[in-house]
Structure formats: structure tokens, C-alpha cells
Amino acid sequence: MSTETVLSLSEVKFGWDTTSSLLSIDAFEIKQGESVFLQGPSGSGKSTLLGLIGGVLRPRSGEILIKNESIGAASSAKRDRMRADHLGIIFQQFNLLPYLGVLANITLPCRFSKRRREKSRETFSAPNEEARHLVSELGLPDDILSSPVTKLSVGQQQRVAVARALIGAPALIIADEPTSALDSENRDRFIEVLDTQRRRFNSSLLFVSHDRGLAKHFDRVVDLNTLNNARIEGQT
């Protein structure tokens, strides 16, 4: 397995004002193909960390690299492009645009990222083809592509969200509590499918959850409370 670094944070500090920090991370890395379980209760700075990695927030200091390119210091246009090109994001719930069909939802990232569109063309001839392929790999019925999003069960919606995150093979999949709306049986099945598929694309996975029971599925477990020094700094 390649040891290229997909995500790297060093000396990253973030806060809404200059005096106190919400987040302070000395070093955090994800290698290509690696899956990381990031555990943290709500309020531990998860959203902030994801915002920083996704390039919608800017660190006060320090460096955030995605595929060895700084997203923290880039212009807003560049950050938006890096997010479109390299990240596949899965939310807790309601991942899909209700007014688009399943197929259009899955291929949406290819509309915003030329890189992912071309990657999809290289491997599958067209984003629509890749979407078809992903749907069957994810264990969804074929005719789901033409059905409206609103007819889907929560489990199906989350799988469609996985397809959307994977299309065009982005370097890093970020899943933010994607299983919290699923029952326990579906939860494990979902993670298995997600893990299998992202391996095929050699995408790394950052899986954020407060549920420690899911940690067994991942290469590495990181506790955000340990990672984040902000609280300790605040006390001294």
C-alpha cells in the first residue's frame, strides 16, 4: 500500500477570536487508503475540525495539507475547488437534494469537479455509468436511479450518499455520523459496504462518530479530546 499522505494537519489552531482557541492540533495525518475512526462527543470541536479540513473555515495558524497542497492558506476559490476535487462528504442525514433524482444526486460532484468527472470517464466512460455501477455495488436495486429521492428509505438515502461521495474517486471520504439514523443491524452493514467500496477506489476514510462500538471496523482510532489541546491550553 502506498504511503502517500492524503491529509496532514500540523500546529493547527482555530478560534473565533484571537485570545482563545477552540481547536488546537499539533499533528494529525491520514495516509492514502487508511481508514480512521475519529471519536468525539458533541461539543468536542468535530464540526470545527471538519470545517477546517473541508476548507470552509480557515485556521488561525498552522498548516492543513490535502494531497500535499495547503487548503488552509489557499484562496476561497481554490479551497472550493480542492473540496470538490478531493473530498467526498457524507452527512448524518438528509444528504440528498430532494428535487433531483437519485442519478442526478449521485453525479452532482462531477458537475462541480472537472477532475472527478474525468476520473469517472477514465474508469467508467461516463459519470452515469459509474453511478449505475456504484448503485449495484452498494446493494441498491437498479431501478432506484430513476426514482425520486423522497421515495427512498433512510438506509437507502445514506447509501446513495455513499455513491455520491465515492464518484470520481476522491482522495478522502469524510463521514460525519452517517449511521446515527440507522438501526444497529443496518449500521454495521452500512459501514462494511462503505469500507469495501472506498477500498476499491483506494480512498482514505475519516469516519466521525461518538459511538465507540463502531471503532472495530477501522484501521486506526483517534480520540478528538486527546488530539485537541485547546482545553488544556485554556486552563494554563
Binding site: 470545517g51 473541508g54 442525514q93 437534494l97 460532484p109
Partner: protein
């Protein structure tokens, strides 16, 4: 080079998903545009048809009163003549070398509310409207016999008269007259084609006929002598009028008009007034422009209400679409995409709505065309969309797009603060 994602298809999809409220918004803007278009159309055509009520005539000459009053009673059959012009004066004006033609007009009688114009055949030769259009007969011919009458189009239609119908005239200009000329019946000899001018509401007889029906009258009431004036006797009598109400004058050249006007306004034998119709007509129109302006203001406000409706509809949708914005941001939508999405939504509302409004407006005027032409003097009403309607549609679309920046900027600010976290 990044290909622009088809934001427009997203905007359309989003409108479709909220089709009920979207439809209401579109209907409200369509109604507003329809009203605005109708008001503007009527306003413009009313002005055009009004100012072209009388063309080709260089001067209207009558007893001295006011320019507007003279125009109103000679051309529009509104108001009462103040005084008359003697036949000698008429002959004098007619014989001037710089006068090409004259048409005498004698008023004072009516038929069931429609005014009688006593005149000569020259009226039908020289009265022109809508630039160069002549009066034409739809049926029959102009009066030849003393007791023949020609009807304006609306008179014939409203009263259901045709060539050959027999009728009597009433003394005075009102609808309810107590003195009837019932002993001197007239026969309809011809009916004029519709013109969209007051001519349609007039009836025409010869000047001698006016004298004939008043034979034996004094100060507006019949004397016993009038009974002796039977139609048979009158046909052989000398019916040379002593007075007329007004006259239309055509100069030999436009340049001479001002001199004739000056001469007549300082006429020594009796106080006269000569009015250039075009000037009087636009003066009259300006008097009515308050109503015009009011209509315009009201319809502009209706448009403003429609546009605010678009804004409200998008603003209220923003809360439930917070997630949509976060999803779009997470897959790489740029701030300008979010702005384009909401601005194009506002523009789509306006474009669809105003195009619909214009379509319904012209559809309706096509459908109702026969009815409109029958009932109203709207010869100049435009029945096909024109450049002006294009301006309306594009103007409203542009304003709506500009207004769309308000929700767009709000949504953008929220999406930046929400980051990649999807809030409910």
C-alpha cells in the same frame, strides 16, 4: 477551465419541487404584468386614437369661447355651443384665396341621445382620421333627399337601424327632449363604417334639413306656423340657413394656416375663434393625463407587489433550504453558484410569470377582439405583442434578478457560517 455546472437546471428543479407556492408566485406576477400591460396598451392606444380623431383639417372655426370648448362640441359632441356663426361669415371665409375647402357644421338636435350634425357632402369628403383615413359608407349612400339621414356606425348598431329605417329627430342635445320633430320623419339613406372616433356616435343630415325641421319655430319652440310646413311644401321651399354652429377649414397650404387663424381671431364682423385641431386635441389630452398618470402609478405598484411576492417566496424558502445549501457547498459549489442559483430562481419566477401575463393578455384581447371593437373606440389597440412587451418582460426579469441578490446573499452568509454541518 471549470465547466459551469448547469445551475439553471438546479433552479428549475428546485422550483418544480415547490411547485404549489411557485405557481402562486408566478400567478401573482402574471396577474400584475397582465394588468400593467393592459393599462399601458389602453393608455397608449387611447392617446394615439384620441390625437388622431381629426386629421387633415387645419382649423376649427366657431363663435368665440375657449379652444377646448369649441373642439369638444364640434368634434366630440360634448358640451354646448355658445353661439353661432352667420352664413355671411361662412361665405366670406369660404371665398378666401388661401382657403381650399370648408365644411359647415350645424348642431342643436339629436336622436335618442345621439347628436345630429347638419352639414354638406363635403363633410364626408374632407373629414379624415387616423392620419389619412376617409369616412366610408358601410351601407347605402349619403343623403340626397331633404329628409334622408346618414348614421354613424355605433348609432346604427346600438339602435338596430339599417338603410330604409324611418326615424324622427328631437330638438336639443340631451337624451330626454320634450320637443320632438315628429312631424318630419327621416329615412336612413346610409350607414358609415366604424372609425373609432366620435363620428360613430353622430347622425348626419343636410343643412337644409336642419332649416326644414325648424320651419315655423321661434326661440326653440314650435309656433302654429310650423304645422303648415309639411315635408312636401318644404321640399320646394328656400331653406338657405342663416347661421351655422362651426366650420372646418382646410388651407391651401399648411403655411397659410397661421395667417388664416390670425385673421379669423381678429375678424371684425363678429367674434370668431379659430383653433388648430392638433394643438387643441393634445391640450385636451393633457387635461385627462391625471387619470392616465393615476392608472400608470397603480399598475406600477401592482408590479412592485408582484416582485415583492417573488422576494417573499424565496426568502421564506431559505430556512427549509439551509440543508440544500450545505450539501451544495460540501460537493464544491462555490459562493457564486449559490448566488446564481437563487438569483436565477428569482429571474425564472419573473420571466415565466411575466411571459405568462403577456400571453394571457394578448390571448384574451384576441379572443375578445370582436367585442372590444364593437363596444369601444379602440382602433389603435395593439393586438400582438410588440417591442414594448419585450421591454416589460425583460425589465421585470432584470429587477427580479437584482432583488434575488437579497436572499442569495443571506443564504450565502448562512452557508458560510454553517460550514459543512447540515442544520435541520
Amino acid at each position: 477551465m471549470i465547466e459551469m455546472p448547469p445551475i439553471l437546471s438546479l433552479a428549475l428543479g428546485s422550483l418544480k419541487a415547490r411547485r404549489f407556492t411557485a405557481l402562486l408566485t408566478i400567478i401573482s406576477i402574471a396577474t400584475a404584468v397582465m394588468l400593467f400591460g393592459a393599462v399601458e396598451n389602453i393608455r397608449q392606444s387611447a392617446r394615439a386614437s384620441f390625437e388622431r380623431t381629426l386629421t387633415g383639417t387645419d382649423l376649427i372655426v366657431g363663435a368665440r369661447s375657449s379652444a377646448i370648448n369649441l373642439t369638444l362640441y364640434t368634434i366630440f359632441q360634448i358640451g354646448d355651443p355658445t353661439n353661432n356663426v352667420t352664413w355671411e361669415t361662412y361665405e366670406d371665409i369660404r371665398s378666401r384665396s388661401d382657403v381650399a375647402w370648408t365644411v359647415p357644421i350645424s348642431l342643436g338636435d339629436s336622436h335618442r341621445g345621439f347628436r345630429v350634425i347638419g352639414t354638406t357632402h363635403e363633410y364626408f369628403d374632407h373629414y379624415k382620421y387616423a392620419d389619412t383615413r376617409d369616412l366610408t359608407l358601410r351601407d347605402g349612400r349619403v343623403f340626397e333627399d331633404l329628409f334622408e339621414i346618414v348614421l354613424g356606425a355605433q348609432v346604427a348598431r346600438d339602435l338596430n337601424y339599417e338603410v330604409g329605417t324611418s326615424l324622427t329627430l328631437s330638438h336639443g342635445l340631451g337624451a330626454a327632449s320634450f320637443s320632438e320633430h315628429s312631424d318630419k320623419p327621416f329615412t336612413v339613406s346610409g350607414v358609415l363604417a366604424p372609425t373609432g372616433t366620435p363620428v360613430d356616435r353622430s347622425v348626419f343630415v343636410s343643412l337644409p334639413a336642419i332649416e326644414a325641421i325648424h320651419a315655423g319655430w321661434r326661440s326653440g319652440t314650435p309656433t302654429p306656423a310650423s304645422r303648415l310646413a309639411t315635408p312636401e311644401r318644404l321640399r320646394n321651399a328656400n331653406l338657405q340657413p342663416k347661421e351655422i354652429t362651426a366650420l372646418l377649414v382646410g388651407a391651401t397650404s399648411r403655411a397659410r394656416t397661421l395667417r388664416i387663424q390670425r385673421d379669423l381671431n381678429t375678424y371684425r364682423a363678429e367674434p370668431l375663434q379659430a383653433v388648430i385641431p392638433g394643438i387643441a386635441l393634445s391640450q385636451l389630452w393633457n387635461m385627462m393625463s391625471v387619470v392616465e398618470r393615476a392608472l400608470q402609478i397603480v399598475s406600477t405598484f401592482v408590479i412592485a407587489v408582484g416582485l415583492i411576492g417573488i422576494l417573499t417566496s424565496i426568502l421564506t424558502s431559505l430556512n427549509e433550504r439551509r440543508r440544500e445549501m450545505a450539501i451544495l457547498r460540501s460537493i464544491g459549489a462555490r459562493p457564486r453558484h449559490i448566488i446564481t442559483l437563487l438569483v436565477s430562481e428569482a429571474a425564472l419566477f419573473a420571466l415565466i410569470g411575466s411571459a405568462l401575463g403577456i400571453a394571457v393578455l394578448y390571448g384574451a384581447s384576441w379572443g375578445l377582439r370582436p367585442l372590444l371593437e364593437e363596444r369601444f373606440n379602440i382602433g389603435a389597440l395593439s393586438l400582438t405583442p410588440g417591442l414594448f412587451d419585450l421591454y416589460i418582460v425583460s425589465g421585470i426579469t432584470i429587477i427580479a434578478a437584482l432583488l434575488g441578490f437579497i436572499p442569495a446573499i443571506i443564504a450565502l452568509k448562512r452557508s458560510l457560517s454553517d460550514g459543512l454541518t447540515v442544520r435541520v
